[in-house]
Amino acid sequence: MAATVTVQLGQCGTQIGHELLSVLHEEATFYHHKDRLKDYNDIAMKTFFNDTQCGKHEARSVMIDMEPKAVNWAVQDTTGKEWRYAKSQQFVQKSGSGNNWSYGFKVHAPKCKDAIIDLIRKEIEKCDYFGGFLLLMSLAGGTGSGLGAFVGNVLRDNFPRATVLNPVVCPYTSGEVAVQNYNAVLSLSHIIAVSDAVCLLHNNQLHEICHRLLGIKQVSFHDMNKVAAHQLASVLLPIIQDKQSGSRFQNVLNDIASALVCNSRYKMLDLKCVPYMSPHTMAFNTFQWEGLAKRMFQMMLTDHHMDEGLNWRTTLTRPHGKTQRSSTYTKYVSSLLFMRGQGSTSYDLLTQFGDSRLYPTWIMPACRNSVWKTELPFRGYEKCIAFLSNGTSCVKSLNVLTEKAWDMFGSKAYLHHYYKYGLEESDFINAFATVENVIYSYKTL
């Protein structure tokens, strides 16, 4: 059972990582008293936390930011909790990156490289058996995206055998940062090359889930981070089938990567979960596997991020599309289903998830879809399903990003800020080419 080191980069990475670690710790201590579930707790805890003498658990995490406020907030927020961050596993500078990818990548990164590698090595030394990295960052800013891309390269150079799973946050399409599209294209071009898998999380989608499913009227970043943490935890927590065989995972990151990324041209993952509901409506709902599976399948077919507002007219026999002739399916390279809750092992999931029409012909039937089940519930939901897939879901957002960035690039706006720190026109063109390549590969599935 391998340990995972969480690397939280920039304000977004720090904040989401903080929520994620809280959720993981909560789940790992929840079933403390029930004996047969002790394995679950052990594995969940040991993967992400370190036992210390004083009784508190220490997160296996390294926080990196070029300005101190977010990291200080996260460290302070753990007072009173049963877990905390290890002392001096945070690397902060004072001046920030100014939303400038070039500054993060060319100026900060080389200066901080050694210190960062040191911190990461220290964290790895604490692990008995090290599995891989969970690299959390956003694409829009300067630190998370610029320094993050550099850290990705560094991890790959120094720890070639570690698995790197990279959840990244895409900004609101309505605009959060004026240069977000440049930063996103530049980052993606690097991390696609070095990470084993890149999972896109979208602020737009997280916002809608908070607003429409959880009924939160005034959605804050805090709420959205909690939803993102919920989604990530649903695939990172152990899958215990029964007492005899123990955990399905030896190394959660590795298992996910090998199940989903069979070809290095296709690494973009997408995450969907059902159900979501606010705590006070949970008591009034009963769940059935059949209902959940049906909703998840429809979400898979229509590539929708939540189970509300689904287009039920699209079916396997009648795919969506503007005209009869141009109708297509959302295509997948491979997919993983996580079923958590009572009765999961006895329920046979619909075979539709592995239907050949949704996958290219060069994928063997056995590799298309896997289902991992555990009887243990997740976060108070009696039953829930998470769907982690490698497919064309990423095309839409990548397309939008690249189109806008290219438009801006054509008018040469903001470029002087990037060139000032050593980036050149050719770097931009290469980045565009890489991302266009990924879009093309998925489009031609």
Partner: protein, 465 residues
């Protein structure tokens, strides 16, 4: 946490600066009840101890030391002694170190050439040394704020010559300039010359300029005053007396709000370097029109609170701009929205951005050119506060006005001899400044034309071979 240094030049600059320090102290006093000298305070103040007449800086170390004696990170420059003396004798006198003052008694006679060339050379070394000293006392200096007016002699001339000192000594540190432009009824005859020459320097040497117009400030103050039944500041005795204190407070509030996110916590922090990055698409087009909503002059003098969505709408109306302009009917190149307040969340921001985007035109390659920031702590006495910094083509109208007034004088070569007789000044400078301003006006015009007429073409995406 980063530090900023405020450099106030000339009468106008120093008076605005005075209001700024006053408000700043109040704000920090309000939010730091334990009297601890922390990161937030250190962005504008030093903690000092005085032993036998020498002041020593107390380092922040772990950030849990109590405040001993605060000194502002400021440099005060004026070629007349009146204003600075008044400042020192007032309540704020204690926060300024006597070494931070650079004064003379002769004044600049409203002559940019005297301010820039004569005093610029005379005081260059002294100013450079003060700046160096102030910078050494900073852990991580991020930006310089220069406050001045462009219509006079000292603020305009010496203020801009200062910019070249800053550029030479600290090229990496951002130079933000709060420049007060003269209104059309300005009583200084040579103000168009001074403003034109100053604008040339600002275009070349500043990273970001916030132009402000006295008339706009007066309008805002009147609006607030009418709404407030019992005015706590002195009512103007003559009909045309300008409520300068109130006007300067407004400018001070803009700077406080702009730096709030780098001083205090929030869920979406915006540092000053991010403002430059996101709002300046081309190096010379760095003039940002600012606006505040809701309007407030100090914690006791403000408009009654409005609903949040209404405040967002107001922010883009021309009554709330600190510059006489109407950005709504011009083209936006980019816009920053900085929000302070505990109860404003990202969903409120998004909802309002979506609403506003429908009615505002953005340049075609930056349709979503918004930069948003959320800071938890509101200004004192307010529930929340919104600040918009817009890079908008409406500034070309102001510049065109300025150009017209300049040309009116220059075509007769009126008063030009006052400038030419100053050592180091060449009359070519007049022509160069005129060309530079004409160039900028033209660039803004071009952008407006291409986008608003819909003739913008998007280049084809990269095709893979």
């Amino acid at each position: 946490m980063t530090q900023s240094i405020m450099i106030q030049v000339g009468q106008c600059g120093n008076q605005i600066g005075c209001r700024f320090w006053d408000q700043c102290l109040h704000e920090h006093a309000f939010y730091s009840k334990n009297g601890i000298y922390d990161d937030a305070i250190s962005s504008f103040f030093r903690n000092t101890e005085t032993y036998s007449d020498e002041t020593y800086d107390l380092p922040m170390r772990t950030g849990s030391n109590k405040i001993n004696k605060l000194k502002a990170r400021a440099i005060l420059v004026d070629m007349e002694e009146g204003v600075i003396n008044e400042l020192l004798q007032g309540q704020l006198g204690e926060i300024f170190d006597s070494k931070q003052l650079i004064t003379n008694s002769f004044g600049s006679g409203n002559n940019w050439a005297v301010g820039n060339k004569e005093y610029g050379t005379m005081y260059r070394e002294q100013i450079a040394e003060q700046v160096r000293k102030a910078a050494e006392l900073c852990d991580c200096l991020q930006c310089f704020f220069v406050l001045h007016s462009t219509g006079g002699g000292t603020g305009s001339g010496l203020g801009t010559s200062l910019l070249s000192i800053l550029q030479d000594e600290f090229p990496e540190v951002y130079r933000f300039v709060g420049a007060v432009y003269p209104s059309s009824d300005d009583d200084v005859i040579t103000s168009p010359y001074n403003s034109m020459l100053a604008t040339y320097e600002l275009t070349e040497k500043a990273d970001c300029v916030l132009p402000i117009n006295n008339q706009a400030l007066i309008n805002i103050c009147n609006k607030v005053q009418q709404a407030v039944r019992s005015g706590k500041f002195e009512k103007p005795t003559e009909k045309n007396a300008k409520p300068f204190d109130a006007m300067n407070n407004l400018v001070a509030n803009v700077i406080l709000n702009m730096t709030s996110s780098s001083r205090f916590e929030g869920s979406l922090n915006v540092d000053l370097n991010e403002i430059v990055m996101n709002l300046v698409p081309f190096p010379k087009q760095h003039y940002l029109v600012s606006s505040l909503s809701p309007l407030y002059i100090s914690k006791d003098v403000a408009l009654p609170p409005r609903k949040l969505d209404q405040a967002f709408e107001d922010l883009f109306s021309k009554d709330h701009q600190l510059m006489l302009s109407d950005p709504r009917h011009s083209l936006y190149l980019a816009c920053a929205l900085m929000v302070r307040g505990k109860n404003v969340q990202t969903s409120d921001l998004n909802r309002n951005i979506a609403k506003l985007s429908r009615n505002l035109s953005f340049v075609n390659w930056n349709q979503e050119g918004w930069k948003t920031g959320l800071c938890n702590l509101p200004p004192i006495g307010q529930q929340y506060s919104l600040l918009a910094l817009a890079n908008n083509t409406c500034i070309r109208h102001t510049f065109t006005d300025l150009k017209d007034r300049f040309v009116k004088l220059y075509s007769r070569k009126a008063h030009v001899h006052h400038y030419e007789k100053v050592d180091g000044f060449e009359s070519l400078l007049f022509d160069e400044s005129l060309n530079s301003l004409t160039g900028i006006i033209k660039e803004y015009e071009e952008m407006e034309k291409t986008t608003l007429s819909g003739t913008a073409q998007s280049t084809d995406r990269l095709q893979l071979v």
